[in-house]
Symmetry: C2
Subunit: 374 residues, 2 copies
């Protein structure tokens, strides 16, 4: 990279930046919000997110991939590197897994000061049934080296980030990559992947935040040292201060519960209005660390809590779980909160520690509701 090019990037690709405390959303944040989108919360009623409503976070442009010209090269520290075209990939043993996928930046716009990036509130989530072939047997059949430490996944998407021109790449520790449900997926809910979800093939790493699920896969490389590419070393790290510090990598999804907002909304404020009487509150809860073991609900802004009823684990270990709670809605102003816990003892916090890149903010959802007069 010449210094002229670096200068060209520097003028339009700024270092990480915090907004002023209390600042409104910038034009740059709006540009991202108009492209990427979250799950409309009322669609939490669906166990599998309908096509087009699953959250999307796309770093650069959606690449156009010609399926006839596409191939996936699997190489690096392997005795027998292999290249697969799409027909070969789809002839391998099929495996389907239902997975709740969440953006690592979900909740960022609720932090103050707010790191400047995609300004998610709470909606960057979705659940799909992914079908593909398991990665582990493929790597083992290709002669995985004993020295292997990580697996590096390369997508077809290309751009600049904080001054660094790059093709999207992420390294995953070998033990994670060998998980039985880690897939090279080519179908989503029974249909070929949509362009925005990684057509023709993407990685699925159940339990991990979205940045690990590399879309538009072109290469898989087994490496014998920790990968030091931008998205692992710079991009997806939790840093507790504003200063430059190495931070810790973003990995698995922290527990979160989200409510289907009850009643009906105001168009602009999204404030909810509910008719008085018995209301069944419902929502979904998930965690990438362990099964959800409970969801607490408060209808008085956290003053008192009670346990919601968990629905059956209908979609397996990696998907969200439905919960319900009866509420006798009395006229007046209310604020409904929910919080999830999981089998590892993680409890969704009222206010998690702030971090400089705005990752993993799983603070409880707060839903203000006006119950109308009888």
């Amino acid at each position: 990279m010449t210094s002229t090019v670096e200068t060209a990037f520097a003028a339009h690709s700024r270092p990480a930046r915090l907004n002023e405390p209390g600042a409104a959303i910038t034009r740059q944040e709006l540009q991202l919000a108009a492209r990427n989108h979250g799950l409309p919360l009322e669609m939490l009623r669906a166990e599998l997110t309908p096509p087009g409503l699953h959250y999307l976070l796309i770093h650069y442009d959606i690449p156009f991939v010609d399926p006839a010209a596409w191939s996936l090269e699997i190489g690096g520290a392997l005795g027998r590197p292999v290249t697969l075209d799409l027909a070969e990939l789809t002839r391998l043993p099929r495996r389907s897994v239902r997975v709740t996928l969440e953006c690592a930046g979900n909740g960022r716009a609720r932090l103050d000061p707010r790191p400047e990036s995609q300004p998610w509130l709470v909606e960057a989530v979705g659940t799909a049934e992914w079908t593909g072939t398991a990665l582990a047997p493929l790597l083992r059949a290709a002669g995985l080296s004993d020295a292997a430490q990580e697996v590096v996944f390369t997508g077809a998407d290309h751009g600049v980030e904080r001054g660094v021109e790059q093709t999207y790449q992420r390294g995953l520790p070998l033990a994670e990559a060998l998980g039985e449900d880690v897939l090279i997926a080519y179908e989503m809910n029974g249909a070929p992947l949509a362009p925005q979800h990684g057509y023709p093939a993407r990685l699925v790493v159940p339990g991990w935040y979205g940045m690990a699920h590399v879309k538009w896969l072109t290469r898989i490389d087994v490496v014998t040292e920790p990968f030091t590419g931008y998205q692992n070393r710079v991009g997806y790290r939790v840093r507790s201060t504003r200063e430059e510090e190495p931070g810790v990598p973003v990995t698995r999804i922290e527990p979160r519960a989200l409510l289907v907002p009850p009643g009906f909304p105001d168009f602009l404020s999204r404030h909810r209005f509910v008719h008085p009487g018995p209301v069944t509150l419902e929502g979904r809860a998930w965690s990438g660390w362990g099964p959800v073991t409970g969801v607490d609900v408060s209808v008085d802004a956290g003053t008192t809590w009670r346990e919601a009823e968990l629905g059956p684990e209908t979609s397996g270990r990696w998907a969200w779980r439905r919960f319900t709670a009866a509420w006798d809605a009395r006229p007046g102003e209310h604020e409904i909160w929910t919080r999830a816990r999981d089998a590892t003892g993680r409890l969704q916090p009222l206010r998690p520690p702030w971090n400089a890149s705005g990752f993993v903010n799983n603070e409880v959802q707060r839903v203000p509701v006006t119950v109308l007069a009888a």
Copy 2:
């Protein structure tokens, strides 16, 4: 409606409001931007917008409609009112039309001061092939009264807007409703409508902005006086001042051209970088008033313009048209502008008149591009 209820709405459903000049995006605007979404501009390369990438503007919540319980009542000033269930609707003669649909608020966030609502920049557009049955034969067969003036379409979506509780309704002048390509559509690109696009049936009014294409249809009523519901009388009107004034109704889509942004982007700024040499600029242009007759392109921020090459009208009268222009990209900073014209003489303006609700802002797109050193 009791005064208690009106008070409850007033506290959380504010009158129309302008942001301060130059103001950043509010939390309320962000909430809308995180739900609704535009077309990622690189997908302008596709003649038909792939599922999930078509723009969405949903006033309230996406309703859950049980197709087995659903029916469409067609009544009002008709000799023989009719009720159709989904099986009956889909047995009627089929008609397919390719339509470019755009939100009336597209461009709102480029106005200053900016009316507070969904903050679109330029991306609220998409093109689909809609299949359903033509409305006109259905109305005629039902004994359309000579006194009919308008047709009122009612959706299943319910909410509050500027203090008014409502189910989404729009009136359409009779002559428009009888257009041969006006459909009650139940398929989009060959598949049943997705929930967010109006499942199980919606109106399609080719050439009109999105607010006319009522989703989740439940009723169609022929009326003998102009309809005075909220979305016609208050909501979708162009008002030239900040004062209360009746304004003029929003109707057909003004011409617009949008470019596939060339090269590759910076993640945050979306600024584009292009390697030097020959580049084929491409985009799509449309107008709801008449066929697109030309697109002008400027690579020097409007100092000089030249005519782009229009592609064939492959998708019929109501869909956008592809254009291309050759560009010899030389290192340095550039700004690419495009503007469309149509057969009615409408030319996309550099700066259209400001209006108080932020509708029909079709000012030319401006795409800053850095051409890298050779």
